[in-house]
Amino acid sequence: MRDNDGMPIVVHRGQLDAEIQNAIRKLGPEAVDVTYQVRPDSTGEPAIFFLIVLKDAATRKDVISETTGRIATILINEVQPIENWGLHPFFNYRSESEQQRRNGPQRA
């Protein structure tokens, strides 16, 4: 999902997409799918919201913190959304089984 949700996009979207895709390749097998939206956060500031679908095993309570921390760190370090794009990153996580149960619109 690459949706600007009505927000004026002042970034070179193709380059941002390419950098994110490059970062996604480094996430490892726990990350089944990654989508993102560029839109304002709840304070109106420009932000990028990642939605990462994880393998169910990666969302167990004993490993989820390590998994999500590692994924967020890779995406932040590779894309540098604040420094290079002026976008504050936010991360949402969902297990594969939760994703399958969903029928409504995705949150990213």
Binding site: D41, T43, L54, F91
Partner: protein, 157 residues
């Protein structure tokens, strides 16, 4: 236990409630955010010698200013922390990042009923808050951590 410890315990209890409900998940995320908020305020005001007035001083902390300060700290180009211990810098950036992340998720949890909050998402947020509680003691005495606490009170134009 301190109030922030109670809030974290409540968040953990709620997020592990089975079967989960939207109410339990959303309250868990909200409690996790406020646990971190009150931890930081308590740490900052603990430097105030007049103990009975610490709670009153804590009322001066503003969620928006704390978020703006935390956001600024995450800019690795503007805040290089040259010469500082990389582990301390990483710990402080984790606190700042997680505070902002939790505040945004609390906003969703408390107000956005358009779509469900995923259990994995709630668990991720609560465990991140727990990680702050585990990590903060190792950096709290560092000068850059103390500067961060003071800056949380200062509005910049």
């Amino acid at each position: 236990m301190a109030y922030h410890d109670d809030l974290l315990a409540q968040a953990l209890e709620l997020v592990y409630t089975a079967p989960s409900t939207q109410a339990s998940l959303r309250r868990a995320v909200s409690a996790a955010y406020y646990a971190v908020f009150h931890l930081l305020v308590a740490e900052a005001t603990s430097n105030w010698n007049n103990v009975p007035l610490r709670a009153a001083l804590g009322r001066a902390y503003d969620h928006g200013i704390m978020r703006a300060v935390s956001n600024r700290l995450l800019n690795m180009r503007d805040f290089t922390f040259a010469g500082e211990d990389p582990n301390v810098v990483a710990g402080l950036r984790f606190v700042a990042f997680t505070f902002t992340e939790l505040q945004e998720h609390r906003h969703f949890a408390d107000y956005n009923l358009i779509e469900d909050l995923d259990p994995s998402d709630a668990l991720s947020q609560v465990t991140s808050a727990e990680k702050i509680f585990n990590r903060w003691p190792s950096i709290r005495s560092e000068q850059i951590a103390q500067e961060y606490l003071v800056s949380l009170l200062v509005k910049r134009s």
